[in-house]
């Protein structure tokens, strides 16, 4: 009996020792975990529970001058499959097919057993919600902002494009990328045991959103210009066509069209279409440039408004070359008449009186061969020979707009300078940048004066000359009912790149004009490059387009009529 009790006690002791040893080992492990593994485990848990999330900002909108949306960003989804956890592949396939998504089996086999097999891009929210409601395993969604242009082709060159990550590549999208792109914010989140996200902060979307950029371009004026120009572009089967509408007093660009164009929302097939010809392409302006020589001659006092010139009966020999006019005029003609009949001989004589130094100085003063500073990327400076390299033919050539390369924006800005009583303004397309979060507006985009080029008196004489050119001269087709119009046609021969001489087949027809003639509210430039199928003269090609645009634009802007209808 005693022996039994002793055995029992021994067993109890052994058991107690075992239990105590286990607890002791556990204690040791606990001490090891708590003290020695403490930081390592903390790191692992931290990684499991805490989540750093980069909040992707929504790109700011681009608006027109009346706050209509021209470019905006919306959330679109990429649908992907996690092939490792799909339970019923046929059901997944059927559900996706019902929602307009076709699964290409080859694509899945190419990816193999992967957690991310993208199967559809740019899917909208309704479809995503429909698929989510089916509660199928193995389908995932990834959201991303994509750029949308609700007006389609309208303003494509001005707005530009973005890449797939939303960075501006062309146009306003590129120029104002830093304002539009917004701020990336990193936020902290926690995940519970079931993977649910726990957030301790509410993030206002407006804080992240990029700033809105408001243009001074009016979409209605842009539409008018685009529509009329597109019709002419098709009619004349032209190589290129440009139209710019500018407010001369402020320098604001109200519309700018370059054709051919593209649709920013769809795939761009020809990368050359991205080029904004209105600011990047240089062309010989032809007779529209005559106004520069006359302005300089009047301003320097070397020629008076009342001076008369002999036009050599339409043939003038200079430096071994014969310059011809379309009109054979025997009698003396006034300065105004020279512009009315667009006489090359007349302008050459004026330029000769002016002299090459003054002519060169005024070409530069009007802003040619320098950047206008317009807030669009890719502006060209133009082409002009250094004065030391001018030969005996350079001055006469440039006086009627050949042997010089200008951009459309430079030319319209020079005409706007005359319209603005001789003050050259900086052309611009953005008038405001607005921060939606703190409601602040950036007003750095104000009208800027570059310099006074000619006096008010000279500018008024020039406006009268331009008015006469429309009333009695080559610009007749630019007339519109109820308004006085001032302007100048330009038919420039293009250089044949093979023969390196002026072509007799390829021309650039242009017209630059202002309405009303003496107190202009708008200046419009129309350029048709290589019109085909009949006439190539600016008076029959460009002037009617100008008239069509001017009529609708003045009506839309409510410009007061100044020509009494008889």
């Amino acid at each position: 009996m005693k022996k039994n009790t002793k055995d029992e006690n021994n067993r109890k002791t052994v058991l107690a020792i075992i239990v105590l040893t286990v607890f002791f080992l556990l204690l040791l492990k606990l001490i090891y975990v708590q003290i020695f593994l403490h930081s390592k485990i903390n790191r692992v848990v931290d990684r499991m529970v805490n989540r750093k999330n980069i909040e992707i900002p929504k790109r700011g909108n681009i608006l027109d001058s009346r706050a209509n949306i021209l470019a905006t960003s919306v959330k679109r989804y990429t649908v992907f499959l996690d092939t490792r956890i799909i339970e019923d592949f046929n059901k997944v396939k059927t559900v996706l097919f019902k929602n307009g998504i076709k699964i290409k089996e080859k694509r899945i086999s190419d990816f193999g057993n992967a957690a991310y097999v993208p199967i559809a891009f740019n899917v909208n929210m309704d479809i995503v919600n429909n698929i989510k409601n089916e509660k199928l395993k193995g389908i995932g969604f990834e959201s991303k902002y994509t750029r949308q242009y609700p007006e389609g082709r309208l303003l494509s060159h001005i707005l530009g494009i973005t890449d797939c990550d939303g960075n501006g590549l062309e146009g306003i999208e590129k120029m104002y990328n830093s304002y539009l792109s917004g701020n990336y914010i990193t936020t902290k989140m926690y995940r519970d045991g079931l993977g649910h996200v726990i957030r301790d902060k509410f993030i206002d979307g407006l804080k992240l959103q990029g700033q809105n950029v408001e243009l001074c371009i009016d979409r209605n004026i842009q539409f008018i210009a685009e529509q009329e120009l597109r019709n002419a572009f098709k009619k004349y089967n032209a190589k290129k066509a440009i139209c710019i509408v500018q407010d001369p007093t402020e320098g604001k660009i109200l519309a700018m069209v370059s054709l051919p164009d593209f649709n920013s929302s769809t795939k761009i097939k020809n990368i050359g279409f991205l080029r904004n010809a209105a600011i990047s392409d240089v062309y010989e302006p032809g007779s529209t440039f005559k106004v520069v020589a006359i302005a300089a001659a009047l301003e320097t006092g070397k020629v008076k408004y009342s001076d008369k010139f002999y036009l050599e009966n339409g043939k003038f020999r200079i430096a071994g070359h014969t310059i011809k006019d379309d009109h054979k005029v025997k009698e003396l003609v006034s300065l105004s008449r020279i512009m009315e009949i667009s006489s090359n001989i007349g302008v050459i004589k004026i330029a000769q009186k002016l002299g090459k130094e003054d002519f060169y100085r005024y070409i530069r003063k009007f802003g040619f061969y320098s950047l206008t500073g317009i807030d669009l990327p890719g502006e060209a400076k133009g082409l002009l020979m250094e004065i030391k390299n001018w030969n005996s033919l350079t001055l006469p050539n440039i006086s009627f707009g050949q042997g010089i390369g200008v951009t459309a924006v430079q030319l319209i800005n020079a005409f706007s300078c005359i319209a603005n009583d001789g003050v050259l303004k900086k052309p611009y397309v953005v008038q405001k940048i607005e921060n939606l979060y703190d409601k602040t507006e950036s007003n750095i985009f104000k009208s800027k004066e570059i310099r006074r080029v000619v006096s008010v008196e000279t500018a008024r004489q020039l406006k009268k000359i331009l008015k006469n050119a429309v009333d009695f001269g080559t610009g007749k087709n630019a007339k519109i009912l109820g308004y006085t119009v001032g302007g100048k046609t330009g038919t420039a021969q293009k250089v044949d790149l093979i023969t390196k001489t002026y072509s007799t087949k390829c021309y650039t027809a242009s017209f630059c004009g202002m309405i009303p003639a003496m107190n202009p509210k708008v200046v419009i430039l129309v350029i048709i490059d290589e019109p085909k199928g009949g006439s190539y003269y600016a008076s029959s090609v460009a002037s009617p387009i100008f008239a069509a645009i001017a009529k609708r634009v003045t009506e839309y802007l409510g410009v007061e009529k100044d020509d009494i209808i008889k």
């Binding site: 919306v74 509410f202 979307g205």
Partner: protein, 83 residues
């Protein structure tokens, strides 16, 4: 004895308050997250609707519809201005 009872009660009460506020803050965090999701969703829907409105009202579309309906710009001579 009474003092010990009070101390224990105080400790238990403090633990309760601590756990209670922890619980509430977690619940609020869940709620904040749900609201954020809802807010983002509404914002997205708003953006899409605004885009739809702008696309419907695009000038090219309106012009096409006007043409289909036979609406034309009136001739200048057929407009009478009344002062």
């Amino acid at each position: 004895m009474y003092k010990s009872f009070l101390l224990i009660t105080f400790i238990i009460f403090s633990i309760f308050v601590y756990l209670w506020q922890q619980n509430i803050s977690t619940r609020l965090a869940y709620k904040v997250n749900n609201l954020q999701v809802e807010y983002d969703k509404i914002n997205s829907e708003n953006d899409i609707l605004r885009l739809k409105i702008n696309s419907i009202l695009s000038l090219e579309k309106m012009y096409k519809i006007a043409n289909e309906k036979g609406l034309l710009c009136p001739d200048e001579k057929s407009i009478i201005y009344i002062d």
